[in-house]
Symmetry: C2
Subunit: 390 residues, 2 copies
């Protein structure tokens, strides 16, 4: 499939009923929520059209090869050399449901949960709503990139710290952690008997030669305490279809979870979401290869542009994800950078403040779009900064 | 729309990937799980095709008129004169998820939960898995139909009884409770400070002039303690799309629920399920009118047939639902009636034993199918009984 065929025009995007293109007025170009401006892969579309053709919306029979669980296990083995057990999979509608329920199942109110911050906002909301304590393991800026601070982590853990909530690849920094960093995390988890929740939804979106390392592959000790949560919805751009998985690294972990959350308390996944996910995982890679080529171009273009045209903005090109994290604190803007770019550039970004206190003064930019739309976004932002600097 | 147009042939049904037509070997005609052998309404199909045309599978923007919450409120007002508050709606993937979470939120392990038995099996499994106690309020057979036993209910409640789990219209008996019966239930709930969970998923499927009475309309006192759970999936035949609602009768009830189950712990509903449900509730009634005409014919045909051709089988024609509850205890069969009809008649029914101890010796028959298929089911069953009687 040619690159041109999956990139959508502004007109096509506005004809949709998605949140991304409907949150802001039409004068604004959206570059916020993690939805790509690309049409889904043909195998996904075909799997959906097959159901639609037969109006096949009854209780679905999906076992063996066509089951979500088996497709997940096969995909993990093929991509990452990891062999999860299909029997230890709990389907969920989306990762936030998985995060909330894992927190509730494996910790008590008042307990500490480690998070590498800044972080995807719903995790912070989950801690607040469930009355858990944030054990703040801020990513360290080493001058070249953000890195995991294992020493800081060790110091911050106390007796009531029960879980480690790891997002790898990390959102919003775009870091794809190296084995040594993950090993340090795993060691701490084993030392302090922490349950690990590993959000690996961006695993497919690692650039270049690097490959994502599932935390559950580090060692049997780490695997046995790890709940891996993932979905095809991010890399294959079907978030509205709501289909994800939790994988428990041991039968014991799964049994503990089900004591608090029996399987049917988690709801059930719709047949279209299941079939689309299975099609994505089994047949979507050629499409994803094309998408990754576009994303890599956009990533490089953005990094060069920020360096050349946005003086004062700090940015490390992400190793993974289609999200750029822009540190605008040195700009000394009259309002938050989110408000500034929305009001002065008509560009709709994510406000870094939503990612925790270390995100204040930052914005997150979604570059999963066509080159012309990305150029327009960047030019608008640079122009607004230029006008202000005059 | 002519009746013929929504009734599917055996060939079309077998071409699908639904559980109903895939559980048993091809020699068996299935008449079990509550899935209808009818093609969905055109407005539902159109709403899905609109999404498919645009490959519009991103995070969905669904507010106001096109929201699930507003469509639910409007439908309840139009059909039942009930005005639920869209602000007090929690979407869920399906009713079992709602039941599990309501039980966990409003009772503790060991507490008693009242259920009118025999009952839809997952409710009994939920009580078992969550370690709640069944307060068994068996329906009373008055010789003409099953009736609510309010006196028995009063006697069985103790200090640790916390909830009343009402299914109305009732599954499997097909009773659509009258106002006096519901009022008695409501009075008991108020007297004993019970939370009511009202499964009203069969509300659209009441036969004749009768109209479903939502429990939440009985009185403000009853409404304030009632969680109504429902979905368009049953009456509009889209269970695989997974979309349902919980409605809390008061902000206090909702707040209590969300303390234990924050909104995002419940997951999110997929956009296809939402759009299909909104289309069903807003534009599906003409199709449902046709379906109800077919179901009424089938109901009467079945009752006459059982009386004439299946001596020893007790059956009250249901007032609602497309489910027939057949008492086969007097037949003195060598195995359960489920096994007997599966083995000797090649008809796949639901085993009454799954509906609790009072369901032993019964089967549940789903008559939501075309007249020829229903006739084949009934003839096979009668023939098997006849052979045995020789």
């Amino acid at each position: 499939m040619a690159v041109e065929s999956f990139e959508l025009t502004v007109e096509a995007l506005r004809a949709r009923r998605c949140t991304k293109w409907n949150k802001f007025p039409e004068t604004v170009i959206p570059a916020w929520v993690a939805d790509m401006d690309f049409a889904v892969a043909e195998p996904i579309q075909q799997s959906i059209m097959e159901l639609v053709k037969h109006r096949d919306y009854g209780y679905g029979a999906r076992t063996g090869e066509v089951s979500l669980e088996q497709a997940f296990a096969d995909r993990m083995k093929e991509c990452f050399g990891w062999e999860p057990d299909p029997e230890l999979v709990q389907p969920t509608s989306e990762l936030i449901q998985s995060v909330y329920s894992a927190i509730a199942a494996f910790s008590e109110p008042g307990d500490g949960i480690v998070i590498q911050t800044p972080i995807y906002p719903p995790f912070l909301v989950a801690l607040d709503q469930l009355n858990r304590r944030l054990v703040d393991n801020k990513l360290r800026d080493d001058g070249h990139r953000f890195v995991l601070d294992a020493e800081g982590l060790r110091r911050s853990i106390d007796a009531d710290t029960k879980m480690l909530l790891v997002v790898n690849p990390h959102n919003p920094s775009g870091r794809a952690y190296e084995r040594a960093e993950l090993q340090a995390l795993g060691d701490v988890a084993v030392e302090h008997d922490l349950v690990i929740v590993a959000d690996e939804i961006h695993a497919d979106l690692v650039f270049g030669e690097r490959r994502h390392i599932p935390i559950a592959t580090l060692s049997p000790e780490v695997a046995a305490r790890t709940i891996t949560i993932t979905s095809a919805t991010k890399s294959f751009n079907i978030p509205g279809l709501r289909c994800s998985v939790m994988h428990f690294g041991s039968p014991e972990l799964r049994a503990r979870f089900h004591t608090r959350f029996p399987e049917r308390m988690m709801g059930q996944v719709n047949v279209i979401g299941i079939d689309a996910t299975v099609a994505a995982w089994r047949h979507g890679q050629p499409w994803l290869d094309d998408v990754m080529a576009r994303l890599a171009q956009n990533r490089d273009r953005l990094a060069q542009f920020v360096k050349a045209e946005m003086p004062g903005v700090r940015h490390y090109a992400p190793e993974a994800t289609y999200l750029a994290w822009l540190d605008c604190r040195a700009l000394d803007l009259p309002s938050s950078p989110f408000e500034f770019f929305l009001d002065e550039a008509c560009v709709g970004l994510n406000d870094g403040a939503d990612f925790g206190i270390h995100g204040i003064g930052h914005v997150r930019l979604n570059f999963a779009t066509s080159a012309p739309i990305l150029d327009e976004v960047l030019n608008r932002m640079a122009h607004a900064l230029e006008v202000r600097a005059r």
